[in-house]
């Protein structure tokens, strides 16, 4: 099963290769891996999309935790989370397809961020299904190049049940 694991690591050279080396050395899958600094400049956040049965995922989480540069590991699948990915899609457009390309972009609430006489570069953000869907629709027009960020994800804040609070009585 697919899991999204978020890993806080020391922002040091070598940290990325330790994580990547762990996955390749132990034969774990990586579907995508994204890394960027956090608000704390000494810490980076890696989001790893991987897959495996429960035993493998348990090992992945434990092995990541064992890395000395890793500060915290969260298997986002343990709770509710939201995930997003951005894709930059350069579409080859013949004159008669250009309107269609724009229409599709609109439907997916994407933006055209670069345009030439024969191409559009479209930016679209969403979950993996949405990206796959727009790619499907643009395919017939001719996709020239594609760059995807890989997924980033974050846990949903738990919604606290609304309970009636006892009224405060102002004392006088």
């Amino acid at each position: 099963m697919e899991h999204i694991i978020s890993v806080l690591v020391e922002n040091k050279f070598g940290a990325l290769s330790r994580v990547a080396g762990l996955f390749s050395g132990r034969g774990f899958n990586i579907e995508s891996l994204s890394v960027a600094p956090t608000i704390d400049p000494s810490v980076s956040l890696m989001t790893v999309v991987t897959s495996g049965d429960d035993r493998i995922i348990e090992q992945i989480v434990k092995q990541l935790n064992k890395l000395i540069d890793v500060i915290k590991v969260v298997d986002l699948n343990d709770s509710e989370f939201v995930a997003r990915e951005t894709a930059l899609i350069k579409v080859q457009t013949r004159a008669e397809d250009r309107a269609e390309a724009l229409r599709i972009t609109d439907i997916f609430r994407g933006n055209v961020i670069d345009s030439t006489a024969t191409t559009y570069t479209i930016e679209v953000t969403g979950d993996a299904k949405k990206i796959d869907a727009i790619l499907n629709l643009l395919q017939p027009l001719g996709i020239k190049e594609l760059a995807r960020t890989g997924r980033v994800a974050i846990a949903r804040e738990p919604i606290r049940p609304v309970v009636a609070q006892p009224k405060r009585v102002a004392r006088t």
């Binding site: 070598g14 330790r18 080396g21 064992k66 000395i68 540069d69 500060i71």
Partner: protein
């Protein structure tokens, strides 16, 4: 006052209490060697190969429990030490290895003798550092020792570029370090320990399955107390030998591929396996899906990744073996557990029955070729009162030593388990001897393995390390030949060693002593003679070429399905082969 990186290196090592450094110089580390040359606090042992330095540091670490320290140069010095680092990583040996690196400005330029030391060692170290600024050197060394010796121990590499060893900085050695991503768990979860205690009190057929973790955490005393308190027999892995006294009535000896019949039968039919500081290695479990099929499993280990890595565990306890066992004993003592001796009696009787049925046995014809097991048995008998440290290489001789040399105490056993590194034994023995100059250190070697680091005879002689090496000389890569006998219809592809050195002359060429017993009745005298000399000794023991090591669980087989002796058709073939060998005019091997 500012001092150079090389001086910071020295001062830091002194602060860490390092007494011995195994080293081999080269261009980029000359500044460090120059500083080492002008001091007396640290004994620098010059080895003849960096692999030797690495294994010596391992032997030192295994025998003392402290970090072993090695220093090698850039490029080829580094690549040579990789085997030892990998060995230490597999067997959780605390090691701090310093490597030289080209000047920082040249890194990445394919400079002379440049190698990506951090990249090369990443998969075979617990952690590694490249020091880019002399101001970071002291704190890096502090962190390196801290990481190597805490939690699950392991090797750490510190890569020091040439300019860092020459540049100057103020020296301030940190008193302590804390690393936010590194917080080993030492105390076991109390509730889990309670569960474990309940399972132990109820079990009818329990087995303690103990590994090297017992030794690293110094848990021998607790283990003995637990075993005696609960009347549970103890199976040891190769790494654990000495962690529980081999001659204790509850010891079942070694388990696993060449373990004793009763140790393997017991774990297979057990209803409760208590794994302590062990990692369910495939050489122990055999076919993992059928390992201890009837048992509930308790697993105590400091490394959470060892737990549930390859077998199902019912009660996992992450923590330091010693502390967890202490708590477990406390809980067990506090609860009334009835008469465990009588509860366990049928189980103990069954184990005794297995032991009677298939003891470790060999037949020594007093007139015939020397049996390797006999040599090891005699070596044990004649030295056990001196509490020796014993190292081995890798192969049949290693397994026979594990079977017949009943170590009474921890930190007496130096062997390469996880990596199975031929060539480990001799340098490891030298490392232990360097740590304990007055102790008896024995190395049981194979004629194949010992040649992989025989150059260290020079180190032994120069540094007066009087290790006694017994070369179990079967003129074969014996363990390979055994597999070929059993699984390749006796086709001995590249296992016959054909031309081999005269080990007596080899020893003498280096200025060591060489001895050779020529018949069974010489053995005791030769051993005594070797022990009497206060110099390194190589005893070349020509043994029965075709002896195989049993019991044996074929790779991937089940633990209760052991091969106990040569199959009859193999016996026939071997006798025919032996005839051919004699006709070749083989005089050394026919006693």
């Amino acid at each position: 006052m500012k001092i150079t990186g090389a001086e910071i290196f020295l001062e830091s090592l002194k602060r860490e209490g390092v007494k011995t450094l195994f080293a081999l110089p080269g261009g980029v580390v000359l500044k460090i060697f120059d500083v080492l040359h002008q001091q007396k606090d640290i004994n620098v042992i010059l080895t003849r190969h960096e692999q030797g330095a690495g294994h010596m540091a391992e032997g030192y670490a295994k025998a003392t429990g402290k970090a072993g320290v090695a220093l090698v140069t850039s490029g080829p010095g580094m690549t040579n030490v990789i085997t030892a680092l990998t060995d230490a990583y597999m067997d959780s040996v605390p090691l701090v290895c310093f490597s030289g690196q080209v000047t920082t400005a040249l890194i990445g330029n394919d400079a002379f003798q440049e190698a990506d030391n951090v990249g090369l060692s990443r998969p075979c170290t617990k952690y590694n550092f490249l020091v880019k600024d002399v101001n970071d050197l002291a704190v890096t060394i502090k962190e390196a020792f801290y990481i190597a010796t805490t939690g699950r121990p392991g090797p750490v590499l510190v890569d020091i570029p040439k300019d860092v060893s020459m540049n100057k900085a103020d020296f301030k050695y940190p008193g302590s370090v804390s690393i936010r991503g590194y917080n080993p768990t030492y105390e076991g979860n109390k509730w889990q320990i309670k569960q474990a205690a309940e399972a132990i009190a109820k079990a009818r057929k329990p087995v303690l399955y103990v590994g090297g973790g017992v030794i690293f955490s110094g848990a021998t005393e607790e283990l003995i107390e637990l075993a005696e308190l609960t009347q549970i027999p103890v199976d040891m892995t190769l790494m654990a030998l000495g962690g529980f006294p081999g001659d204790h009535p509850l010891s079942m000896g070694m388990m696993g591929m060449h373990g004793t019949y009763w140790a393997n039968m017991a774990v297979h039919y057990s209803d409760l396996v208590i794994a302590v500081g062990a990692r369910f290695d495939d050489r122990v479990t055999g076919k993992v899906s059928e390992f201890c099929p009837y048992a509930k499993v308790i697993h105590i280990d400091i490394d959470p990744t060892s737990i549930r890595k390859n077998v199902h565990v019912d009660i996992p306890i992450v923590g330091d073996c010693k502390r967890v066992l202490q708590e477990l004993i406390r809980v067990l003592k506090a609860s009334a557990n009835g008469d465990l001796t009588s509860l366990r009696k049928p189980w103990m009787d069954q184990i005794a029955e297995w032991k009677r049925a298939h003891p470790l046995a060999y037949e020594q014809d007093p007139q015939g070729a020397i049996k390797p097991q006999h040599l090891i048995q005699r070596l044990y008998d004649l030295t056990k009162d001196r509490d020796p440290i014993v190292s081995t290489d890798v192969g049949q001789h290693q397994m026979w030593t594990a079977q017949f040399f009943k170590l009474a105490k921890p930190r007496r056993w130096l062997t390469s388990g996880g990596l199975g590194t031929m060539g480990f034994g001799f340098p490891a023995a030298l490392g232990a001897q360097a740590a304990f100059p007055d102790k008896l250190v024995l190395c049981v070697a194979g004629d194949g393995s010992v040649q992989m680091n025989a150059q260290e005879l020079a180190t032994a002689v120069v540094h007066k390390l009087p290790v006694k090496v017994f070369v179990i000389n079967n003129r074969f890569h014996g363990m390979v030949r055994q597999w070929q006998d059993l699984f390749y219809e006796g086709r001995y592809a590249s296992s016959f060693l054909d031309v081999y050195p005269d080990f007596v002359k080899l020893a003498e060429a280096y200025g060591a002593v060489g001895l050779r017993p020529s018949k069974v009745s010489d053995i005791d005298d030769t051993i005594r003679e070797a022990l009497a000399v206060n110099q390194p000794v190589v005893v070349d023991v020509p043994v029965d070429q075709y002896e195989n090591c049993y019991p044996m669980i074929p790779a991937g087989g089940c633990n209760h399905e052991m091969i106990l002796a040569d199959p009859p058709e193999l016996k026939k073939k071997q006798t025919a082969d032996a005839r051919v060998a004699t006709q070749d005019g083989d005089t050394v091997l026919t006693a």
